[in-house]
């Protein structure tokens, strides 16, 4: 028992590169700006909706949050953008990071408290809440840290929980019969794109897709047991799935896609990009020579391969 706890503890606090946290943070904050300004704007328009449609969620009841007004949505929208841009400088990561977290969550609350809750945006709260706990982290930092490990682990866990618990929700709300139901037909009828209509002519494709999706969601935690190389492949497979979903019914779980990046050696990609921009080998650009790989050796081999590649 004690050994199991110790192993879990060590797994939660596996030292991971600070540069990875810095890179993920940058992506998360950039996403907040894009999301607030362009992707998820229903909260913004709720400023103009009559308060008669306001339906407080538990969070709103506990915190006594009011119905939206034009002033409130303006403050939240531009406050989020300003705080996220300021946080992207890397300064005051905790204060600015948590300001963004509060602003973004409140803005989502405004979007969701008018009768419709989107089911894909909850895991992003974990990234916003926990990435600031790492404190200062620079894009070229070569150290690994236990705080970075915990934050990245939490983001990974939340991202995978999204899949696993959505399989559970299918069983809870749709029953075990969900896999044999016409749920995907319904989705395509309601919001299918022109190039998804042929699926309705061949309904077994959508039926089979439900089995594949359900199995993939239920087995998603296996990603934690895989080698670095296979982990990247699984993340790539999930991205392909989300791209297909978007092509068929124009639904994409955008914040969740950003979360999935926590599985990737982002600091190595960032170093490659920097090296290419500056026209010099990746090593000097900050590719961590000794302390980079999160877990296991495969990452190290690939990293040295990347450095050689950019040198040429």
């Amino acid at each position: 028992m004690d050994r199991a706890v110790n192993r879990l503890w060590a797994w939660l606090f596996t030292p991971m590169p600070l540069a990875r946290v810095a890179t993920l943070r940058l992506l998360v904050l950039a996403f907040v700006v894009v999301d607030v300004l362009g992707l998820h704007t229903s909260g913004w328009y709720h400023g103009w909706a009559d308060p008669v449609w306001y339906e407080p969620l538990v969070m709103g009841k506990v915190l006594h949050l009011p119905a939206a007004t034009v002033l409130l949505v303006q403050v939240l929208k531009w406050g989020c953008v300003a705080a996220a841009l300021a946080a992207m400088t890397g300064r005051a990561p905790r204060v600015l990071g948590w300001t963004v977290a509060v602003g973004w969550v409140w803005y989502q609350y405004v979007a969701f408290s008018y009768g419709k809750v989107d089911h894909d945006r909850a895991d992003f709260v974990v990234a916003l809440a926990l990435l600031p706990t790492v404190g200062l982290a620079h894009l070229t930092d070569r150290r690994r840290s236990e705080a970075a490990g915990l934050a990245l682990r939490a983001v990974q866990l939340a991202a995978v929980a999204t899949y696993f618990l959505s399989a559970w929700a299918k069983v809870r709300f749709g029953g075990w019969d969900w896999v044999n139901s016409a749920t995907m037909v319904r989705a395509v009828v309601r919001r299918g794109t022109p190039w998804a209509q042929w699926l309705l002519e061949v309904p077994w494709t959508l039926h089979a897709f439900q089995w594949v999706l359900f199995t993939a969601e239920l087995t998603s935690p296996v990603i934690f047991l895989l080698s670095e190389r296979w982990r990247r492949r699984v993340v790539a497979a999930w991205f392909v799935f989300h791209a297909m979903t978007y092509a068929a019914i124009t639904i994409a779980f955008w914040p969740h896609l950003v979360m999935m990046l926590a599985f990737l050696p982002l600091e190595q990609y960032a170093a490659c990009v920097r090296a290419r921009l500056h026209g010099r080998p990746g090593r000097r650009g900050g590719a961590p020579p000794g302390g980079g790989g999160s877990e296991g050796d495969p990452g190290r081999h690939e990293r040295s391969g990347a450095a050689v590649g950019t040198a040429g």
């Binding site: 909706a49 150290r143 929700a169 749709g174 309601r190 000794g290």
Partner: protein
Amino acid sequence: MAYPVDVETGVVRLGPAAKAWRAAVVLVLTGLFCAGSLVGDDHWWPFSPWRMFSTSQAPTGTVWSTGIEVQTADAPGKWVPAPLTPGNTGLNRAEIEGRVPQIQADPSRLGTLARSHSELRPASAAWTALRVVRRQVVVVDSKPTGEVRAEVLAQWTAP
């Protein structure tokens, strides 16, 4: 709080207290997300169940989708479909679909959509009447038959 500047590589460790509160936060979040999935509902957001596309749809039956139709001062008496989008009415389709019973109990609620529309789109013609229409697409063996039934659920006319 600044890290030692002379250490370029290596591992930054956490003390026991720093580890304890972080682990506690992870544990609490795990508990809330699991509880939300087990017994929670949408009102628990962000700890609500992840129920995207979780409902079962019978392979034979109807798939319905709700929309609005409006009359404008420009063309009185003529119903035309209007986009039920946040940019047009302040609310989206799902938010109206979920509130059909309340709308039927008090159709004057629909008047607030016309007001929001004229604030959001001051350049376009004001809506003088608005009705909620449900289209039902008949599906047999997971395949739409082409039959569509339309039904007016509620209607509002400007006083």
